[in-house]
């Protein structure tokens, strides 16, 4: 069985600076794969390449065998890849429920006149989407805040809302960009459980994370980037013991 | 559990609408405008609407004209033309941002029409405003008597017919001034035959009046043996004419004709001619620039400037002596080109109302009756001479006077009656 997402010798240079150098990477269906590395290693650039913010200078990116190169972010999302952002980007002055419903828009069909006249089909669609959104909020534990403004949620909940929003269109691949940043230990544990149960729903997860305990605890596979290059990959235990990884994180002579 | 705030909001919505309603109801009947009448109002009020440009650059045309109309109302009340009734001039400004506006004129006519006490309107001053107002006055059956609009298309031929959208056969627009098919040629004759000018460059503001009068002027100028070296339009609100006038300078005219008003650029053009090498070239215009605003804006450049006016010079008329002295006493400012015309126009309306009332047995007449009386005006004696309205609503009294700006003042040169 071929990998769900595969990057083949992907490079990205900004001016003369190589942010990602000839990176190849496979994410198997149903796995939790982590991308780690020190700050500035190019992890977020990889996400931006996958989601279409940047076009790769070289190489190919494909989902389920279909090339994503040159697609706009909205087209990438429509093809089944959803993401969260390192610095949370919610729709602040919209309700929690509306945020999740926007996530589902790719799969909705109602046009302007449907919306304006509340046609029966639009109404059915609307209530079905609202219902599934409520279920997702239940899933991430935010159901009771469904009608609150997104911006009024505390930080940890905003992280979870972003995840719920990304899950709304039932993506095949979910990209999580440092979901544990700024959360406390209890929240971290809950987050680990959440990510595992997302995988159990059949969504493949690609994760950027700094928190080693979390990464080691849930990943099926880990890829380590340093200066835009992959320096190690494999099972958590293998990566943990890799001398190049230790060097990259702790510096030479450590 | 009822959320209290919703109740408050509902109450708020209700309160605001009630307040709006209340204010509407309370202010009913206060739609009166600035008014002038001799002494305290007594008896029933009959209004003559006055629609003129009264602010900005156009005020120097509009205000003296307004004064003329107000004076007529004062005199009419003094003469007790109609027992039990008082005449009031209901004045509205049709200038927006200091320039006459057809839209505002149309709005003003609608507000006059909505006031049952308004039986006729004196105005407007500008032909393009009249063009917007005539279809309304035609539809509403409200008489419009202009002291100063000179474009012939407002009353004559197919273009005029087109303006009478509702009742093509009924005339509701009258005027007491001559028209540009006379004013233009009269000016051109003076420029060609008296001043011996040969090469004319034409500039107009592209409005009904400006375009019309410059075309009429040019036709006669060519007929008199002159030539037109160029004809351009300017844009309202424009400040910089250097480039345009430089181009005109390259055509070597010996006279620049400006068709338009001071408010659309007549003064600025004259002022900037000097900067573009046209300082020594004569400047010719029509009644749109024969005002004090032109002298103010053009400053030291206001010489070698000629302008026609489609009305008689009241200073020369014995019948206007009392008018002139009363005007001075009342307003302490010089009369304008059309002050006397406005006085006459207002008097025509007032007398039409009085005659219609007599016919109705002393009751307040309706607008249709006033209109009928106006249509049949014959040999009406006025301070600008006796006149009738022809079948188009034009005065039979067609006088053009010519002025020259010299040392910061307008000097009267000559006048002639073109009535056949």
């Amino acid at each position: 069985m071929s990998a769900l997402l595969s990057l083949r010798s992907v490079s990205k240079t900004f001016g003369g600076l190589a942010a990602v150098k000839s990176l190849s990477l496979d994410v198997e269906r149903g796995a939790i794969v982590s991308l780690i590395g020190p700050n500035g290693a190019g992890k977020s650039t990889v996400f931006n390449l996958i989601t279409g913010i940047y076009a790769p200078t070289d190489g190919t990116i494909s989902l389920d065998g279909r090339a994503l190169n040159g697609m706009k972010p909205s087209a990438v999302a429509a093809s089944g890849i959803m993401r969260t952002f390192q610095n949370i980007r919610l729709f602040a002055f919209m309700s929690v429920l509306d945020n999740v419903m926007v996530g589902r828009h790719v799969r909705m069909r109602a046009a302007v006149w449907d919306g304006a006249f509340h046609t029966p089909s639009a109404r059915r669609e609307e209530s079905a989407v609202a219902q599934s959104a409520m279920q997702l909020l239940e899933f991430v534990g935010l159901r009771r805040y469904a009608h609150e403004w997104a911006r009024n949620l505390p930080y940890g909940m905003q992280r979870r809302l972003e995840i719920a929003r990304a899950l709304a269109p039932e993506p095949s691949l979910l990209l999580l960009d440092e979901p544990a940043a700024g959360t406390n230990p209890a929240e971290k544990q809950a987050l680990m459980d959440l990510v595992t149960s997302i995988r159990d729903r059949g969504v493949t997860v690609l994760l950027i994370e700094h928190d080693m305990r979390l990464v080691m605890g849930i990943s099926d596979e880990i890829h380590v980037l340093d200066y835009g290059e992959k320096i190690a990959a494999g099972l958590p235990e293998t990566v943990r013991r890799d001398p190049r990884v230790i060097e990259a994180y702790l510096g030479k002579g450590a | 559990m009822q959320p209290p705030i919703r109740v408050r909001f509902t109450a708020f919505v209700g309160a605001v609408f009630l307040a709006a309603l209340g204010s509407a109801a309370c202010s009913r009947g206060t739609g009166g405008s600035s008014s002038a009448n001799g002494g305290p109002a007594s008896g029933t009020v009959i209004k003559s609407g006055v629609d003129l440009p009264l602010s900005g650059s156009d005020a120097s045309d509009g205000v003296p004209t307004e004064n003329g109309a107000k004076l007529a109302v004062i005199d009419a009340n003094k003469q007790h033309l109609m027992a039990g009734y008082t005449f009031v001039a209901d004045v509205l400004d049709d200038a927006v941002n200091g320039v006459h506006s057809p839209n505002q004129g149309a709005k003003n006519i609608q507000s006059f029409a909505s006031d049952g006490a308004v039986l006729g309107v004196v105005g407007p001053f500008n032909s393009n405003v009249a063009k917007a107002e005539i279809p309304l006055s035609n539809n509403l059956g409200l008489a419009l008597i202009s002291p100063a609009t000179t474009n012939p298309d407002l009353t004559k031929g197919p273009p005029a017919l087109q303006l009478r959208t509702t009742n093509p056969s009924s005339i509701t627009f009258f005027r007491v001034c001559a028209t540009d098919d006379i004013q233009g040629p009269a000016g051109a004759d003076y420029a060609g035959k008296v001043l011996k000018l040969r090469r004319a460059y034409l500039l107009d503001d592209n409005e009904t009046y400006g375009r019309g009068v410059s075309d009429q002027w040019a036709r006669q100028f060519i007929a008199d043996g002159g030539s037109v070296v160029g004809h351009d339009h300017i844009t309202k609100g424009q400040q910089d004419f250097h480039a345009l006038l430089t181009r005109a300078g390259g055509l070597h005219p010996d006279v620049v004709f400006y068709g338009g008003t001071t408010s659309t650029g007549g003064g600025l053009v004259r002022k900037q001619m000097a900067d573009s090498g046209l300082g020594g070239t004569a400047y010719f215009g029509a009644d749109g620039i024969r005002n004090d605003e032109f002298l103010k804006v053009a400053g030291t450049s206001a010489s070698d400037v000629y302008a026609t006016v489609a009305a008689i010079n009241a200073d020369k008329l014995a019948a206007a002596k009392t008018f002139l002295s009363e005007y001075q006493d009342q307003f302490h400012q010089p009369v304008g080109s059309y002050s006397a015309n406005a006085y006459a126009a207002t008097m025509v309306v007032v007398h039409a109302i009085v005659d219609a009332a007599k016919a109705a047995g002393g009751k307040m007449p309706d607008r249709a009756a006033v209109l009928e009386k106006l249509k049949t005006t014959k040999g009406f004696p006025s301070i600008i001479g006796s006149f009738s309205f022809d079948r188009n609503g034009d005065t039979t009294n067609k006088i053009i006077s010519i002025y020259e700006a010299k040392n910061g003042a307008w000097m009267f040169l000559t006048q002639q009656n073109y009535a056949k």
Binding site: - | S57, T235, Q239, T246, G267, K271, Q272
Partner: protein, 306 residues
């Protein structure tokens, strides 16, 4: 031959008009460079400059002064006074209307700026009325003919004054400490603050200088046209803004270049196309530049942060 003369004659008209636009454009560009705000009220500060000049001239018994040098001195004093007053207005506007909104969503200060513009216009209307106000013509009317092309002292004055102030501004921005602080703040406000630069006073100075230049433009345009009008700043401001965009907004040299180019475009449109279409041509240039080359002629493309 005549055609060539016409061309150069129009070039002079265009350069004179362009000098006014360039001076106004500098204020737009400096303010935009430092706080990314299109200071919509800037055009009205320019008109305010001509109104201030008018009032100051009214205090001077011009008819009693005959000699050339004395008149030149008066001109200089009036320019500086108008610049100072406009500068103060600019600083006040920034302090009262814009500072609170420095970190608000972008549209908020832009809407405020439109409001300030309307308020300034109406204050001028209250002050001098809503018709053309004549400007005293106290400089002698002297004509020069160079190679068949005629121009008078006022055209020389406009070009000389605008160029002189542009040179002064360049020296100021690139040679003085405050100029450096302004450039640093424009680059990165937070970093500049960390380096010990007082952001508030730097921004206030930017407004002061930009508005003072608009004041200078107000004076010279009053001298050049001989009249002024309370709504003049709206169109002139938009055209100067077009100039700033054409040159590359945020770029001081670009603003000057853009100003002269727009002035010349206007004059040439008037000569070779039609005077009626000058505004349409200028605003079409604005739209085309923004759509196809938002960085302008001299600006650099700045990618938006993701």
């Amino acid at each position: 031959m005549a055609d060539i003369h016409q061309f150069f004659q129009q070039l002079i008209n265009g350069v004179a008009l362009g000098g006014v636009y360039a001076l106004i454009a500098l204020g737009y560009t400096m303010v935009y460079g430092i706080i990314e705000l299109i200071n919509f009220a800037h055009g009205d500060v320019y008109t305010l400059g001509s109104f201030f000049s008018l009032s100051i001239l009214g205090l001077i018994p011009l008819s009693h002064i005959a000699s050339g040098p004395a008149l030149g001195l008066i001109a200089l004093v009036v320019i500086l006074a108008a610049a100072l007053l406009c500068g103060i207005v600019g600083v006040l506007v920034e302090r009262l209307a814009y500072r609170r909104l420095r970190n608000a969503p972008r549209l908020a200060p832009l809407i405020t700026a439109i409001g300030v513009s309307l308020i300034l216009e109406n204050i001028m209307q209250l002050w001098k009325g809503n018709s053309e106000v004549p400007f005293p013509q106290f400089l002698p009317d002297r004509w020069h003919i160079v190679g068949g092309v005629k121009f008078d002292d006022r055209a020389v004055l406009v070009v000389a004054v605008s160029v002189a102030f542009m040179i002064a501004l360049n020296l100021f921005v690139f040679r003085t400490r405050l100029g450096k602080a302004m450039r640093a703040t424009a680059q990165d406000r937070d970093a500049a603050q960390l380096m010990g630069i007082n952001i508030n006073s730097t921004i206030a100075w930017t407004f002061f200088i930009g508005s003072a230049l608009a004041g200078v433009a107000g004076f010279i345009s009053g001298m050049y046209y001989g009249t002024t009008f309370f709504l003049n700043g709206y169109q002139a401001g938009l055209k100067a803004f077009t100039a700033a965009v054409l040159g590359g907004i945020g770029n001081i040299t670009g603003a000057m270049l853009g100003g002269f180019l727009i002035g010349i475009v206007e004059a040439m449109t008037s000569q070779y196309i039609s005077d009626q279409w000058t505004s349409v041509v200028v605003f079409s240039i604005l739209i085309l530049i923004l759509v196809f080359r938002p960085s302008g002629l001299l600006g650099e493309q700045v990618p938006e942060k993701v």
